[in-house]
Amino acid sequence: MQNKDIKRLSLILLFAPFTLWIALLILLPHIGMVLLSFREKVAPRVYEYSFANYLEFVNEPIYWNTLLRTGTMSLLVTALALLIGFPIAYYIAKIAGPRSRGGLFLLCLIPLWVSDLIRAFGWILLLRETGVISSFLLWTGLISTPIEFLYNDVAVIIGLVYTVILFMIVPLVSTLDGMDNSMIEAGYNLGGNGFTVLRRIIIPYAMPGIVAGCIVTFMLTAGSYLTPILLGGKNSSWFTEQIYNQFITRFNWEGGAAFGMLLLIFTSFVIWLGLKLSGQTLANTVAKS
């Protein structure tokens, strides 16, 4: 019986930090944000509960256009990251020799250890009018006047793909790594060609990794702030920028909270949809990577 008490006590002790963390830093703040988002300032220091903040979002096309734009761009970035990243992950997990494998994987991780800011800074130095690429092209004589590669959607997409692709590659490598090579060989042995083996065997097997990578990639993209602002310039129209403007520039916390909720609901919805469509769950994808 004494044994049982010790077990119960240690369970409670272990639960304490978890509960404090999740309740105080995740659940309560989000509840607070929901409440705040339903508050409307009717007069100085007088508030009422209403949908005004959400109505403002609906009535102002610039807001929901920004959210839609953020969403579609994020999906595009996710798709690009998957397309570019899958062959790399496959190469690392299945084709590279055992020696180069670890090295290549580490190379993939290196940008992870560098802040968003530095990565964006690097791209700015490469892409801007006086930047490396423009100067190089001038020097080769391919162009006669400097070109501005920065401050457009392509620059934003390049920067975002760059920022998030590691989060696509890492889960992909770890799932593909767990795949038995003989499964692929059996696929060929049974008469499949490269494409059917890829479609019927490799991709279904890698599905949890693909979904995990896509979720993290999408979330990071939709929630990113620095890269779109720095590479897209003042008119990058990223939704997080709207949130920042509401909060910091206009000091309209109620509106900012509503926008935050909208971003959260929107991204959660996309992820929920993605999980449903792929038949995966959060627990067997993200939690595993």
Partner: protein, 285 residues
């Protein structure tokens, strides 16, 4: 393997693609780092010759990073914040690992998902939600109890808590993965040899977890150091380095001193990352 069944040109093309990809990965980092050594007032071509002024120069306009008071201060605050975040995250990560591997309680899966969720909440939202709660609490206390709770206003504590809120998930996942591999009979063996519960934990279980705890701590440190989105909303007057750099970029424009800082951070992070890999490697490997 795919390679065996394909012609060599295909493999060659594939290799070329991989190479191009790694060039793509390296390009911005190289450009961010290389211009730190360019003897020019702007981080741009043409190359004006090698200099270390952007690190050690002590006069304007080439004030090096090690003489730039604001940058050094930012570095210091980043360091302090990252240390606190790592310690907190590793502690909570360890208790969470024990909770989810050893604990038996109803709704375990649900709680596990709760633990993972902070990782997929956009950092901006974590930042504002914590800001809102802290400010509301501070306002409420001030109004009703006439007490000014300075620590709930934007500042170091809020930044630490904000970063901790999602970094704890990362450390929990890392340490949980390690604890999963632990052979529980090892604890029984130690018990059997006469050790007390506390001694088993101290001499067997924690030493087994130590590599994962150190690695998780390093990851937490790096993620904290480079975090921007969450920090942006919670920062007070003690701006950490990323915020200082961002301000500098927005106000002064890009100057090679930022390249110097970038280079410094890249080298530092790289060394820490190597260290974390070294400790995680098992003795057998």
């Amino acid at each position: 393997m795919l390679a065996k069944n394909k012609t060599t040109p295909f493999l060659f093309g594939y290799r070329l693609y991989v190479l191009a990809f790694f060039l793509f990965l390296a390009a911005p980092l190289i450009s961010a780092g290389a211009f730190a050594f360019n003897d020019s007032l702007f981080p741009a071509l043409p190359w004006q010759g090698f200099t270390l002024d952007w690190f050690f120069g002590d006069t304007e306009p080439k004030l090096g990073m090690f003489h730039d008071r604001r940058l050094l201060q930012g570095l210091y605050y980043s360091f302090v914040i990252a240390i606190f975040v790592s310690i907190l995250s590793v502690f909570v990560g360890t208790t969470n690992a024990f909770l989810f591997i050893r604990g038996e309680f109803p709704g375990k899966n649900f709680f596990y998902i709760l633990m993972v969720i902070p990782l997929v909440i956009p950092g901006v939202i974590l930042g504002i939600s914590i800001l809102v709660l802290a400010s509301d609490t501070a306002n409420y206390v001030e109004k009703n109890l006439d007490l000014e709770l300075e620590f709930l206003r934007p500042g170091i504590l809020l930044v630490v808590l904000g970063q901790f809120s999602f970094i704890a998930t990362i450390t929990s996942l890392v340490i949980t993965a390690r604890l999963k591999k632990f052979d529980a009979t090892m604890e029984e063996a130690a018990f059997n040899l006469g050790a007390t519960r506390a001694r088993v934990l101290r001499t067997i279980t924690l030493p087994f977890l130590r590599p994962a705890m150190i690695a998780a701590g390093i990851v937490a440190f790096l993620v904290s150091f480079e975090n921007f989105n969450t920090t942006l909303f919670l920062v007070g007057s003690e701006a950490p380095l990323t915020i200082t750099m961002y301000d500098r970029m927005a106000k002064v424009g890009s100057t090679p001193v930022l390249n110097a800082v970038s280079f410094f951070l890249m080298v530092g992070s790289g060394l820490l990352a190597l260290l974390s890999i070294a400790v995680q490697r098992d003795k057998q490997a």
